[in-house]
Assembly symmetry: C2
Homo-oligomer: 407 residues x 2
């Protein structure tokens, strides 16, 4: 039995480099079904449903959709709104009025929760309705998935950036601290490990939220690396926490900003990096200490994208359309790894995914809690995609000294 | 008459994405000449000459040299040392002992000054010696050159980054401030203008060191853009100065660090961006304000390079070898633009380049001093190289509202 009606697609939360691949995957696939009367895009996430801000994607050219698919950041724009029951009732009022029968929300675990609530409201209202959560997050923190669309490209950016700053730090030695996104999970900071090509390459230390951050241990780690190599490159997750689970940023920052989900603002400020730099400079008396906060560049940079990530982001969109429209099923799409490297997609229960956070498993973090294991490198390498650039060094032999030997 | 002896190549100052193209250009070209007995690389810039830290590039494989050419950051490592007369006497002692007759120093205007001093010392010592300054700087601030090797790739990074953050800011509106390298010249911050594709695209405001930065004017500019678009993307040179020529960073930062050239440390800290953010947040009462400091990523990121920049960096190296070894001439290589887009190289007097800073010409800066002109866009576009990625938007038509019209 075919459920006839409209499709609405929305994008929520922080953008990724491939989030529009999923949008275009759903759109192109949905447009093939006769029971789909229109494919609408909601502007500014679920907020656009309330505000009735729709665009008609049925009237978008296929060529332009392909161009948009290769453009980072949410083409339908986004929101940080987290709908409660009242908000969802508003959503239904609109969806019913527009005869919408298929709802696709592309986002992270917050967005999965939104889809779950919306779907429950649909059930309560006895409205025949399919709702699918299409995963995306650079944090890679969705449960039940091997990894998430958006992670591979952000990881490629982080690994590329650390490849460069490691070379920079090698040429002009000192301590370098790079602060990487990742509120609860260290996957993105861990990706910096792919910059380690030669045995003495940085990042020499990687700190993730999965292990408590201790300032004294940190200083000892930096001193040890500095004594050995005359330099030290550090990768730090913005979400690192102390022994009591309190984010270092909360401890150190005065003006903390909280969003609708109760999350403290971590990005868009260089405070954490500057503080850690000051710590190294004052306590270890190392003169050249630099920090960069990668900030928004890592999730929206144009021209640094993983082709594997692109392909998978497109396919989760297509599969979402299949599950909803062919099979009349609700849920959340997950990526399952089936080989090295191959994947398959399956449908999970929304309640099994919504609001839950996946962390770096223990086998991906080294014993000292300041680096990653080979297991992690094996895990992440295919996700960076093809043509990942690597650094090369001179191997020219040293010349024997003349003057210093004679004197 | 052929001047027989060794070649020494060194790299100084901050790395670029293409500085090794010049190194490889000189090396491969110099190795062809019979009068060149050896091609040595000095480790850590001129410091490596004093320390007799040489590697024998004559014994490096051509294949590996080509791999190194495509790797960012100084493969011979670098230094911030600025030789005085005493330092230069030390250099000669070593160069003479090693029978070095050709010296190539790849660097910015500080490095040009080093070459000039070294060359003067050679003249005084009546030592037959050719010294060439091979330009590189992401700041694009060398006089007599249309542009400098290293600038195009850094500009491509900055333009790509702003393309992304503009999309990000469009999806999740607010004020975004991106702090770009550039101590004295605004060329690199200005490159952000290439992110402006659609008429309302950011950066909406660009502040360069060539125009005094006034906090009140800045706040008025931001408010005006915010009122118009509901968002605002700002690009700022790290080297912006107030009406009295004092760097904003010096005014605002407590722990200022000064290098051997008397330069205040501007990079490797998020302080300027955070301060400007606070200013907007407190004075304009705009809630979502974010800043990123692009830091070291913009000069060493692997995988974001301009092919035009690569080619020219290679050629300035090759031409340097020609001038020194074929023609027995000293000087500094400059790039001359001969068409749209074609270039030629010529040799300048070292004293005409050394220690001098080129600024953005008036015709590249708009009247309000908060943006660039079309002349600048025409100037910079070819330097970004081929395949520069651009953003695409949905053009799907808006859907007529149902509920909001009826109520």
């Amino acid at each position: 039995m075919k459920l006839e009606g409209k499709v609405v697609i929305a994008q929520g939360g922080g953008p990724t480099a491939v989030i529009n691949q999923s949008l275009v995957g759903i759109t192109l696939e949905a447009r093939k079904f006769v029971q789909v009367t229109r494919v609408y895009g909601s502007l500014y996430g679920v907020r656009g449903i309330i505000d009735e801000e729709f665009v008609d994607l049925t009237q978008e050219t296929t060529h332009n959709l392909e161009q948009v698919a290769n453009t980072p950041s949410s083409a339908l724009l986004s929101t940080r709104d987290k709908p409660d029951e009242k908000y969802c009732k508003e959503i239904f009022k609109v969806l019913k009025a527009y005869d919408v029968r298929y709802f696709f929300y592309i986002g992270g675990n917050d967005s999965a929760d939104t889809v779950r609530i919306v779907n429950e409201e649909a059930d309560k209202a006895d409205y025949e309705f399919r709702a699918i959560h299409v995963p995306k997050t650079i944090d890679n923190d969705l449960v039940l998935s091997d990894h998430t669309p958006g992670y591979g490209s952000a990881a490629r950016f982080v690994a590329s950036a650390f490849t460069g700053v490691n070379l920079d730090n090698r040429a002009l030695p000192g301590v370098y601290i790079g602060v990487v996104m990742g509120r609860n999970a260290g996957f993105l900071a861990a990706a910096s490990a792919l910059a380690q090509k030669y045995p003495d390459d940085g990042p020499h230390l990687i700190y993730m939220p999965e292990r408590p951050f201790n300032q004294e241990t940190f200083l000892r780690d930096v001193q040890r690396v500095y004594d050995r190599y005359g330099r030290c490159v550090v990768a730090v997750s913005e979400g690192i926490v102390d022994e009591n689970g309190v984010p270092m940023m909360t401890i150190l920052s005065k003006n903390t900003e909280v969003d609708a989900h109760g999350n403290v603002q971590l990005s868009g400020t260089g405070a954490l990096g500057d503080l850690l730099s000051d710590l190294v400079r004052t306590r270890l008396k190392i003169k050249r200490v630099r920090s960069d906060t990668f900030g928004y560049l890592q999730r929206s940079f144009i021209g640094c994208v993983s082709d594997v990530d692109q392909r998978e982001a497109r396919e989760v969109g297509e599969r979402a359309a299949h599950y909803a429209i062919w099979y009349n099923m609700d849920g959340s799409i997950s990526i399952q790894r089936t080989g090295f490297y191959s994947v398959n997609y399956q449908l999970e229960n929304l309640s099994d995914v919504a609001g839950k956070t996946r962390h770096m498993p223990d086998e991906f973090i080294n014993e000292s809690g300041n680096g990653v294991t080979d297991d992690f490198k094996y895990y992440i390498r295919p996700l960076l995609g093809s043509g990942f650039p690597t650094a090369h060094r001179l191997r020219a032999p040293k010349v024997d000294k003349i003057l210093q030997v004679n004197t």
